[in-house]
């Protein structure tokens, strides 16, 4: 793995850092895919989902449930689960728990979503995001994080 890419990834600690990354001139979808392949999909996705869990703002049972994420990368599809509870959230690889909602997207779409730059309804309309299960829960969920 390039030291540059690993070093850059290590400096992404908040959605604001993610926005800085996406704001770099030339950081297009294909370049993001190269970045992910260079760092390793699971390395970057682990970091992104842990960041997401840390930024969840719990609010009782209304914001509770398991969210299944199927993320397409240039090296294959990766599954993660985000467990939203009344007290906080945590992330895990895999698809063991029955999800309340399932979201499928590419890595660039995921990064934009975590950076607070993606309107999920518009993304659904464009086909960038696919949802199955509790649609309302899935559409509202991106609003429950501190960006």
């Amino acid at each position: 793995m390039s030291d540059n890419l690993k070093g850059l990834l290590d400096q992404i600690a908040s959605p604001s850092d993610l926005r800085k990354l996406l704001d770099i001139e030339g950081m297009t979808g294909p370049v993001i895919e190269q970045f992910v392949a260079g760092v390793g999909a699971e390395t970057i996705l682990d970091q992104i989902f842990n960041l997401m869990a840390g930024r969840f703002e719990p609010k009782g049972r209304l914001r509770s449930g398991v969210v299944q994420w199927n993320v397409a990368t240039s090296t294959g599809r990766h599954r993660y689960q985000l467990f939203l509870t009344p007290h906080g959230a945590h992330a895990a690889r895999g698809n063991d728990a029955p999800p309340r909602v399932l979201l499928a997207m590419s890595t660039p779409t995921l990064l934009n979503l975590c950076a607070g730059r993606l309107d999920p309804i518009a993304a659904l309309g464009r086909g960038q995001l696919k949802i199955r299960g509790d649609l309302l829960f899935g559409a509202l969920m991106p609003r429950w994080f501190d960006y």
């Binding site: 390039s2 540059n4 070093g7 850059l8 400096q11 704001d23 970045f35």
Partner: protein
């Protein structure tokens, strides 16, 4: 001399002239006229010229570079070959060439590309004469290049001399160079990664 056309066949002139005759001839030309001469050559002629030409002519030429497009012309003449580019820079004077490049960087800085950020960027340039250190101070939407290390660099970029020239000429894609480690970053990498794209290299 007003018209370089009076010199006749430039390629033959360079091939057939002795080093002393070539120096005597080029000494009579202004920097702009030397650029005109170079414009009539192609990359296969450049190594022969480089071998014969007096360093003082290249030094004058390097000091006369006033726009990234002229840098691009030199790189095209060198055929993109690092060995030829390094030979040109060494003969023209590494410090003279780098001083000019960092001055150009300040003149062609695009503040909007760094989103209003400020800070000092240290550049480590590897050359046949060893590593040369420069810094670029970005503040108030302006940038100013200078020789030597920065007191408190926010980020450090390391690259080869030919890649620096390509970057400033607009022929090296900064993000690709970064992804493939042609440009190495340390310090605030999210700031540093924006810099290779922050110079107006359009002709």
């Amino acid at each position: 001399m007003a018209d370089v056309n009076e010199l006749g066949d430039i390629k033959a002139l360079i091939t057939q002239s002795s080093a002393a005759d070539l120096k005597a001839l080029l000494d009579q030309l202004s920097a702009d006229e030397v650029k005109d001469v170079l414009g009539r050559l192609d990359s296969s002629d450049f190594p022969a010229l480089l071998e014969k030409v007096d360093p003082a002519v290249l030094e004058r030429l390097a000091q006369g570079i006033s726009h990234p497009s002229e840098l691009k012309q030199f790189l095209e003449l060198a055929g993109g070959d690092d060995t030829v580019i390094n030979a040109f820079v060494t003969k023209a004077g590494t410090q003279i060439m780098l001083d000019r490049v960092f001055s150009l960087m300040g003149e062609h800085f695009l503040a909007e590309k760094v989103g209003g950020d400020s800070g000092t960027v240290e550049w480590h340039i590897t050359t046949p004469d060893g590593e040369k250190i420069y810094h670029l101070t970005i503040e108030g939407g302006k940038a100013e290049g200078a020789g030597g290390p920065a007191a408190k660099p926010r980020t450090t970029l390391t690259m080869s001399g030919p890649d620096l020239l390509r970057l400033c000429a607009g022929t090296l894609d900064g993000i690709t160079a970064f992804m493939h480690s042609k440009i190495k970053l340390s310090g605030d990498m999210l700031f540093g990664a924006k810099l290779p794209q922050a110079f107006d290299t359009a002709a």
